[in-house]
Symmetry: C2
Subunit: 349 residues, 2 copies
Amino acid sequence: MKTYRVFALRLRHLTIENSGNGMRRIFSIAASFVLLAAFAHAQTDPLPSWNDGAAKTAIVNFVKAVTDSAGKDYVPPADRIAVFDNDGTLWAEKPVYFQLLFAIDRVRALAPQHPEWKTTQPFKAAIEGDFDALAASGEKGLVELVMATHAGMTTEAFAKIVGDWIKIAQHPRFKRPYTDLVYQPMLELLNYLRANDFKTYIVSGGGIEFLRVWADRVYGVPPEQVIGSSIVTRFEVQDGKPVLVREDKIDFIDDKAGKPVAINQFIGRRPIFAFGNSDGDLQMLQWTAAGDRTRFMGLVHHTDAEREWAYDRNSAVGRLDKALDAASKNGWTIVDMKRDWKQVFPFQR
Amino acid sequence: MKTYRVFALRLRHLTIENSGNGMRRIFSIAASFVLLAAFAHAQTDPLPSWNDGAAKTAIVNFVKAVTDSAGKDYVPPADRIAVFDNDGTLWAEKPVYFQLLFAIDRVRALAPQHPEWKTTQPFKAAIEGDFDALAASGEKGLVELVMATHAGMTTEAFAKIVGDWIKIAQHPRFKRPYTDLVYQPMLELLNYLRANDFKTYIVSGGGIEFLRVWADRVYGVPPEQVIGSSIVTRFEVQDGKPVLVREDKIDFIDDKAGKPVAINQFIGRRPIFAFGNSDGDLQMLQWTAAGDRTRFMGLVHHTDAEREWAYDRNSAVGRLDKALDAASKNGWTIVDMKRDWKQVFPFQR
């Protein structure tokens, strides 16, 4: 905000020298200066919620390098593919993945029709709200729970269930909608990349049809740029109307080695920019790093127990261990949430 | 080209009335007129290779309706999704699918290492060039043949094999590269839709990684907008380099009921515009038709044995039977190639 301060000083200087009727004119000129300064500032700082430091510098330098058409690292717009993990990278993932909390709500709603769930895992844990038992079942367990509780309806019916839930459900700690727990610095990063002709993709271990319901509204990422885990769908004609029915069968788990596979399948180009936060993102980062020319690989390191959470190598949810070592070894950018982010959530101003 | 003729006549008229030094000025003015006329013409006819008729009118009226922001049928750009089958819709598919001809070339190249292929179908037919036997194996047979002959290498190695082949291979009838056998009217349609903010997708029974090598150059459709059949790929690190290895296992067949499934999986939006040419496209057209608001469903009917081929209900390749009945019953647009297309291939001028 240096530029702003310069103009504020100039404003004070001018008002001292003048008085009476002249004041109005001075204020008018000063207001223009302030607007101009704010504009200049917005142009020079696309990432206002990022503190100055190595992470922010690495991002800005990378974007400048690949968009400089005269430079050696120039990348044509069509090849500016950026991929982001979702849980723990774009929004929070504690106490457990939010989609798991959605699944728990569904299990409880459907439990009266499934008495056997009271004694079967992971349903028992879901009904009892036993996060430790649930977290221990891992990303795969989450996907299974979601599949088991969300199959048998059409894709349209499922989208409605998710849409209804995301509007009213609240996070247990922050007592706010889950979509409020997105990271302000990452929203700025998504916008910054798109303003520089990047195509931004989400590549999540979470369910593709869970994410697509709200990703466009919350992140500005349209459905066709959301990649995730999926269950099998079946085309059929019901009462003369063609529908897609969700079967209780896992189609694809978009985690770990599945991420580069899905990136190749959906995008067909190798990303030049990848951001994750856990060991589930390691192969996506490796795949991105293995391309020619300059690339950017980043990790969000959760180090802020006060504003968010602090966890890494020993967390059941979002474990960051091997990927942290790989990042250090290969010089990937590690974002220290506490140090690098001025603000975490949009509501924490 | 009416407008052009009017200005050409005017040019002749002016040159008769003038002479000597004035000529240069007249030519300059006339050249401006001609340029203007060509521009006016380009603006009024986005589909010059289409004869005036019901098909062309239906396309133009649909595009006008969904792009008129004041009209009741307006569709915001983000929802302007158009899907096209490839074989028989964007390029020819006779004597058999071109990817099958690619597979035949690969089978012959690899045959010395596979003596058992001499007595096993569909390899025997491939080696012997027995198109009837191959066509009888259908789209699924094609995919199997492709998988069997194209697995075991990395995705990058496969892309190179396809790229090398498509440059030198020639169509048996036309003695030209296969990519010359694209339909000029459909290239114009793709451009016309994109000029009206449609996102154009290919949804093909053919292999996704076969198509992506050349679809951008030939159709202007980037890799991330190409959907097709696929084999399983496996992420692994070879000599420290992460690669994706193509396994000899079918992942997904993007044909018939698979097409709406893939559209939902890859795009996550229902198209408002769909074009096919065979029964393999029926479910894609039904899925498109089942959405709200106005939509366009079209079929290319191969009726021109002279410039291309004539076939429909009894063809093993590109059979058009149930979809033709559905189109008639539902009022979908049927393009009669002989009647509706002024020109078929770009080289037939």
